[in-house]
């Protein structure tokens, strides 16, 4: 084994040590209010993780089949000859390497961006709260180091997720990133205006994800129940074995020794005895295919939660309540792609369950279309991007559902580039708008809306002259997202569409329509934000962000342009790279008509958006041109009434049930009736009987009676103690006479 592989634990040690540093020394790293110590440390550690990811990539060149590096034993339970063995082992193969590179690479860029962004964001909060002097400094110090602590925690957790070699360890990372998502969405939980919304959004994300995690857990338990192990390689080896032979014959099958190259020692026994699962035959007519279908559908439920697909996508738009780097890193580039990664990882199982694959594809395609249409009618710059993210995740899910794992991972990577770019640029725009707003307020220009929202596109316009770098990178990102050649998004989206056209026409049509909407809403956004005339004083006084923020944007823009090189048609470098770890990867050859259709759709959509928003820019106070569609626009603007639907179908009945259980069952029945009436009253009644008649009457009566008897008799007896010696003497004498008399009497008798 290549000695470079031994470095793998460092990839999570770096970010987690950043968490420790942040918790204990974070504030000390910030000696004055403009210092960037915590951000710098966090970024360096993120960069170090990226270096390790690159080293793994280099090491894999010589071992493309991948290696497993054991770190620790998590669970090892022996029952007789059966063993439950869940190690914490790093799995380094071509798939996890792609994920590591994307996560650590994009993560590092966003860390660097956040150094600058959070300075401004926290200053904005300080201004909102009117903090000054030491209070402001202390607040800034606390929040700045806290943000990067959470950020590093997220990066480490995400790397735990993608490097795990078994489902349970992956689930640990899965949950940890969910926690970080919750913490960072609600980062401004104490915002004086939007604090409640922010913390509600965090809660919503966490709770919706619980539903998906429920599916994940069920799936993991079923996997263990069926295959007797949760380690990826063994599960897949046994699944393939079981398809051919009986379950019993396969329970000691373990992945080929080639994969366990280094594991000659403790992990290397060829036939590891595993906990024998319940035999499939014992639950009636259930066959392996049915069980695997259930497993994969449960995994799909997990993916719909984490990757924001129908029906669980509703949390992601609200997750935009978090600071913009959070939206970029967690809710666009990395965490939300965990579902795609997980399905790709489980490709062997999905290959055995064609129904699940189709379900995945349909869910993805439907999500792509629904979210794409909603994005058209939103006004919040980040919300448009959030729905766009959901839509693009739908593309990826559809791709992996159809077996186009390479296309899915390809789009995952390119999407990470351009969507992170778009979010960070949006952050830059928001920053500029806030700056302009303060400028306008300070110089008494007035006239600005008191409900001014720096994220509302209706307040923007004409920013291209004020923020040139941001404008250019934003346009690049938008074109990449819209799928215009030769930018990254074109190649990856085209590959997905190609896969769809070959496998499932319905999915292909849905995705093509979604692609049209994608191009349209991005065109609308670019024209509304950057072109035309400034619609507010704030937009008129917006300024370009600092180089600390624009540098990562430029790097990401470059990646968005060049990302297509990863898997160019004809070369298929990513496909060849992934075929070592994704058994069922397949690629289709470039089809010029598919590419032409999608490009044409994109161009038409952009042209349409130019007609509506670019040719005659929307003026301040003027209604959106799409308003003319009336109820359709309202329907899309209200997000297809998904939230209202869930509110009516789930939340209201749930709240009603909760109230019923709390008020009627718990309070009135259990508390008032069972506890107070039955138990309480019986206890009090019995207690009254015991205390009054029994204790005070009988027991106390006996004790007091004896005492009174003694007292009374001694009162009488004391009178015999006269104190006169003569009386005593007489008594003695009489006693003697009595004794003598008795003796004499007896003697005489």
């Amino acid at each position: 084994m290549d000695s470079l592989f031994a470095l793998i634990p460092l990839i999570i040690v770096f970010p987690f040590s950043g968490v420790v540093i942040g918790v204990f020394f974070g504030r000390r790293l910030m000696p004055h209010k403009d210092s960037i110590g915590p951000g710098l440390v966090a970024s360096i550690l993120a960069g170090a993780s990226f270096v390790i990811a690159v080293l793994m990539f280099i090491a894999l060149q010589g071992h493309p089949e991948g290696v497993e590096v054991p770190l620790a034993t998590w669970m090892n339970i022996t029952a007789g000859d059966r063993v439950l063995d869940i190690p914490w082992t790093f799995k380094i193969d071509t798939l996890s390497s792609v994920m590591m590179l994307v996560v650590a690479g994009v993560g590092t860029l966003i860390h660097i961006y956040a150094i600058g962004y959070m300075q401004g964001d926290i200053d904005e909060q300080i201004a909102k709260r009117g903090f000054e002097g030491d209070e402001a400094f202390d607040f800034k110090r606390r929040r700045y180091s806290k943000f990067f602590t959470f950020f590093n925690l997220f990066l480490g957790s995400m790397l735990v997720l993608v490097t795990a070699n078994n489902y349970l360890m992956m689930f640990v990372g899965w949950e940890l990133v969910g926690l970080c998502s919750y913490l960072l969405i609600g980062f401004w939980f104490d915002d004086p205006v939007k604090g409640v919304y922010n913390s509600e959004s965090g809660k919503k994300a966490f709770i919706v994800n619980r539903i998906g995690d429920f599916g994940m857990l069920i799936a993991i338990m079923l996997i263990f129940w069926t295959f007797g192990t949760v380690q990826f390689d063994d599960v897949f080896a046994r699944a393939e074995c079981m398809q051919a032979e009986s379950q019993e014959a396969c329970l000691t099958v373990s992945a080929g020794e080639a994969v366990h190259e280094e594991a000659e020692g403790e992990h290397g026994e060829a036939a590891r005895p595993y906990l024998t699962p319940v035999a499939l035959g014992k639950i009636g007519t259930v066959t392996l295919g049915v069980v695997v279908t259930i497993i994969t559908l449960c995994l799909l439920l997990g993916a719909t939660g984490k990757s924001a697909q129908i029906p669980l996508f509703v949390w992601l738009p609200d997750a935009m309540a978090g600071p913009t780097p959070v939206s970029a890193l967690i809710h666009a580039a990395t965490m939300v792609t965990a579902g795609i990664y997980m399905i790709t990882r489980s490709n062997v199982l999905y290959a055995m369950a064609p129904i699940s694959g189709t379900a995945v594809a349909i869910v993805g395609a439907a999500t792509a279309l629904v979210a794409g249409t909603i994005a058209v009618a939103q006004f919040d710059i980040k919300r448009v991007l959030a729905y766009s993210t959901i839509s693009q995740l739908g593309f990826m899910i559809a791709a992996v559902g159809l077996g186009g794992y390479v296309a899915g991972i390809f789009h995952l990577a390119t999407h990470a580039f351009f969507k992170a770019l778009l979010f960070l640029s949006a952050g830059s725009v928001i920053h500029g708008m806030e700056h302009g707003h303060h400028h306008a307020a300070h110089h008494g220009h007035g006239g600005d809306d008191p409900d001014f929202d720096p994220q509302d596109m209706r307040y923007m316009g004409g920013l291209k002259d004020k923020m040139p770098i941001t404008t250019w990178v934003y346009i690049i990102g938008s074109l990449a997202l819209a799928g215009i050649p030769p930018l990254a998004g074109f190649w990856s989206k085209d590959e997905i569409l190609l896969d769809a056209s070959l496998n499932n026409q319905l999915v292909y049509v849905l995705l093509s329509i979604s692609a049209f909407f994608t191009a349209f809403y991005m065109g609308r956004q670019v024209f509304m934000v950057f072109f035309g005339r400034a619609r507010t004083e704030a937009a008129d006084h917006a300024v370009e962000s600092k180089p600390m923020m624009t540098t990562p944007l430029i790097i990401l823009a470059a990646l968005s342009v060049l990302g297509g090189l990863l898997n160019l048609p004809g070369l298929h470098s990513l496909a060849h790279w992934l075929e070592h770890s994704v058994a069922h990867a397949h690629t289709a050859e470039f089809n010029i008509s598919i590419a032409a259709i999608s490009t044409l759709l994109g161009l038409i959509a952009i042209g349409l958006s130019w007609l509506l928003y670019g040719r005659k820019p929307v003026e301040a106070g003027q209604a959106d041109p799409l308003r003319s569609t009336g109820p359709v626009f309202t329907f899309l603007n209200r997000k297809w009434y998904w939230d209202e639907l869930y509110d009516t179908v789930f939340i209201k009945p749930y709240v009603w049930l909760g109230e019923f259980l709390a008020v009627t069952i718990d309070w009135k029945f259990w508390h008032d009736f069972v506890h107070d009436r039955i138990i309480g009253d019986a206890f009090r009644g019995w207690g009254a009987i015991l205390s009054q008649p029994i204790d005070q009457g009988v027991v106390d009566g006996a004790v007091n009676g004896i005492a009174q008897l003694v007292d009374g008799s001694s009162q009488e007896l004391r009178k015999t103690q006269t104190g006169y010696v003569r009386n005593y003497a007489l008594a003695v004498a009489l006693g003697v006479v009595l004794v003598l008399g008795f003796l004499a009497f007896r003697f005489l008798m």
């Binding site: 007896l717 004391r718 009178k719 015999t720 103690q721 006269t722 104190g723 006169y724 010696v725 003569r726 003497a729 007489l730 004498a733």
Partner: protein, 110 residues
Amino acid sequence: MFTELQEANFLVPTSYYVILSAVLFTIGVAGVLIRRNAILIFMSIELMLNAANLAFVAFARAFQDLSGQVFVFFVMTVAASEVAVGLALIVAIFRSRKSIDIDELHSMEG
């Protein structure tokens, strides 16, 4: 010599001594019960002791057993020490009360 003594013993029957002893004891008891002067009560007690001594000696002679006589010595010794303690108490009482009337000393009543 022993015989002579035996003969002399029978001159006065033992019962006489015992009756005298009983009379003396009864006088003593009566003295203790009816007298109020502490000294006189004390003397009555001595009288009772001596009545007992007389009975001891009388029976010792009658049974030709010296232990009765030996016991009398002990009684006399104890009586002497009792006199010493008793008189000291009476003197102490007199000093504090200016009286040795027994009826006035009833502060120990119940």
